[in-house]
Symmetry: C2
Subunit: 190 residues, 2 copies
């Protein structure tokens, strides 16, 4: 075969560094979600990816570990949903593939995880998922969430992962709507 690439890398858009630089610890769950939804909104406005963002926080301290945004179209990899970006950046920051080793971590995501990100949550070591827009919201705007079990929240709970759904849901939906209004690509929605 022709020589295949040996390395894959992806990089956040430059604005994320400034955006995430001054975020304080100790925020409430709603405040954490507001940050994530604003990141999703900025990702649409700046046209750096899809209308989704996610972040890993330390649950107890509320410290932000890593903020990610959807980078599928701009970084050229279909796996780069906001959740995957946030989880992998957090694992680099913590220098471990298991965020459940020591301090408890949560994933805060602007829209319910799709099938891929739901699985990724289970392998990541996070012990809580906080989500904004629901699967129904995403589907109503043309985003396929993929082959997910209907009882996904129960599936996570059975793996000792708490779920807090529909935090600031209306604000999260507005970002999805803004993306559609801007004519953003809804990719691979077969």
């Amino acid at each position: 075969m022709c020589k295949q690439p040996q390395t894959v890398s992806f990089t956040l858009p430059g604005w994320v560094r400034d955006f995430s630089a001054d975020i304080p610890s100790g925020m409430s769950v709603e405040q954490r979600m507001a940050i994530v939804i604003e990141a999703a909104r900025q990702n649409v406005l700046r046209r750096t990816g899809g209308p989704f963002a996610a972040a890993v926080f330390e649950i107890n301290s509320g410290k932000l570990v890593a903020l990610g945004v959807n980078l599928v179209t701009t970084q050229g990899l279909s796996m780069l949903h906001g959740e995957m970006v946030a989880l992998s950046l957090a694992q680099r920051e913590r220098n471990t593939w298991n965020l459940g080793e020591d301090v408890a971590h949560e994933l805060v995501t602007s829209t319910e995880p799709c099938a891929m990100c739901l699985g990724a949550v289970c392998w990541s070591g996070v012990t809580r998922v906080v989500s904004g827009a629901s699967e129904a919201d995403a589907r109503a705007l043309g985003f396929d969430e993929g082959p997910k079990p209907e009882n996904w929240q129960l599936e996570l709970q059975q793996r000792d992962i708490e779920v807090i759904p529909e935090i600031l849901r209306d604000d999260a939906v507005k970002v999805l709507q803004a993306y559609r209004q801007q004519g953003g690509v809804v990719y691979n929605s077969r």
Copy 2:
């Protein structure tokens, strides 16, 4: 917050380059699977990751586009299942996040995709999945496949993705067994 990483990268172990260098086109589905299972076996022997490998081929020509192996523990990212590595390397090789754009591509994987990889398949653009060991085989050896719908094959078919399961299944199971016998880590099997 402290400065988060801005980039994530991962790299195949060096032996994969040599292993994949001389693989001919035009192989049957069984021959393609045999290559993938041998890569999984090498990944165990050389202790470069878990007992799983996957590859993206052009369906019609049988040309290998990218070979991936599980790199979770050695590269420190929980998302690096063999399928995710192969799909992302193939998207880099083809310079697109959608492997369904032009030539038809398939994912050949030594074990049925877990929940994460099942979702990733849907977003990748591949139009066929060929798998070896089954979910039951993986579970019997302690590997959790995550929150997957029971009718996952139907879910893929409904998205115009063909599934060819249990190709060289016994050979694939032997690699899982070898990993357990070697004392390999079965991570995050809560």
